[in-house]
């Protein structure tokens, strides 16, 4: 099974490389093709580092993986910045990507190591004509390591979800308060999420331009993308904190200026949503830790299946 899986991965990699190499001739060196080759390049660098790391450093499995994690995150961040993958704001994603791979690699490696030790000890006994006994689950360490990993990942996943719900709740209250304040001041419209675009000149007047979404009720709830224009120099409460996307605009219509999807508005306040970064971290943590937990659960199930298959085989051989 292991050989089949390994060969599948190698074959898939060769197929991807071949297909994309031919694609270069057809469509040129597109961003997608560039990304594929960059990923192969990064995988090569990481494999070389991993090989020499194992050769030079002799650490226990946990310590080894912690050091490798730090080294690989560093490499991915440097490579990502050179390749233009990361903006200064999202380089932290490398910690999550590498972390997920490290957790899975550790889980598989610890199970593999346990099996190799068991095989060697069996072979030592066979070479000395000693009786071989089958190690019961209680004495095995692999499944305990996997179980601790699964539980830790579930705790992380639930904590991330709780954090996400908290931030969502916080933002709902934040919006309700600001909306109530704007309505009390006579401004009855709100647009979310809005993204600030370049300023534009219309009929000789300079306007701040925003891309936004308008919810419509025409039988079904629907939404359309619109452009909002605010005359430059107008006073409004600025709570954007320097951000230009996911903004909430509280306003009212400004006169009768409508051109198709263009809305000219009188602003009351423009806010950025509270704790947006925290919301992203929580959502990312929930998705990735959930994914890692699912993979480790699959590894754990395979572990138990293999254990019972091998045990049955051992019992059959012993009985005969």
């Amino acid at each position: 099974m292991r050989t089949i899986l390994r060969n599948t991965c190698i074959l898939a990699a060769l197929m991807i490389l071949t297909v994309f190499t031919f694609s270069i001739a057809g469509v040129g060196f597109t961003e997608e093709i560039k990304l594929v080759f960059q990923l192969f390049g990064l995988a090569f660098i990481l494999s070389v580092v991993n090989y020499y790391f194992d050769d030079i450093v002799s650490l226990p499995i946990v310590a080894g993986y912690l050091v490798k994690y730090a080294v690989f995150v560093g490499i991915v961040i440097v490579f990502g910045f050179i390749a233009g993958w990361f903006f200064p704001s999202n380089f932290w994603m490398a910690f999550i990507y590498v972390g997920v791979i490290a957790v899975i690699a550790y889980a598989i490696d610890s199970v593999k190591t346990e099996k190799e030790i068991e095989d060697i000890n069996e072979m030592v006994k066979m070479s000395k004509n000693e009786k071989i006994s089958f190690k019961p689950l209680k004495q095995r360490k692999g499944w305990k390591v996997l179980l601790v990993l699964v539980l830790s990942l579930i705790v992380l996943c639930v904590a991330s979800l709780a954090g996400f719900i908290y931030v969502l709740d916080y933002n709902i209250h934040f919006r309700m308060n600001n909306s109530a304040e704007a309505q009390a001041a006579g401004y009855n419209k709100s647009y979310f999420p809005s993204t600030k675009l370049d300023n534009v000149v219309i009929d000789g007047t300079l306007y701040e331009c925003y891309d936004s979404v308008e919810v419509t009720f025409a039988g079904n709830i629907d939404s359309t993308h619109i452009k909002i224009y605010i005359e430059s120099g107008k006073d409004y409460i600025d709570g954007t904190e320097g951000k230009t996307d996911r903004l909430i605009i509280y306003c009212k219509d400004a006169g009768t200026f409508y051109y198709g999807d263009d809305h000219f508005v009188e602003p009351y306040s423009i806010y950025t949503e509270g704790k947006v970064d925290l919301e992203n971290y929580c959502l990312g943590g929930f998705i990735y830790s959930g994914l890692a937990a699912a993979i480790v659960v699959i590894v754990l199930v395979v572990y138990f299946i293999l254990y019972f298959v091998r045990r049955k085989k051992f019992d059959d051989v012993s009985a005969s």
């Binding site: 050769d55 190591t113 030790i117 060697i120 000890n121 030592v124 070479s127 360490k141």
Partner: protein, 147 residues
Amino acid sequence: MRVEKRQVKDQPLTVIVEYPEYDPTVDRLITKIRNLSINFTGKADGKNVSIDIDDIYYIENVDRKIFLYSRKDVYRYDGSMSDIDSAITDTDLVRISRTCFMNVSHLREIMQMKNSHLEAVLDNEEKLIVSRKYLKDIKRIFRRKLL
């Protein structure tokens, strides 16, 4: 298996293996005979001593000095780790870490310690740290032995 022996004067010790077909048993026999001629020369109390490879429990590089360990004795070896590497092909000696070779015929068991270090316990109660990277080499030697 038929064993014949005869004295041939003024000739070096020669072993001729005749077989109807080359199989793993023949291969194992030839390996064992070859191993008999592999010796390491170590120094103990200023004297050179020839040590049979089967008597070596493990070989360790400590501060760039190489030591051969038998059941009870320790000998200083003047060669390098790469000399040992090339001399131990098809023998029971296997590298278990960057600085240590172990004779698997004296291995009792391998244990995983609580700090997740791997430890090889030898017949003389000696304990050696094993790097995970070399586990498959140990397995390979046992597979060959058990053929």
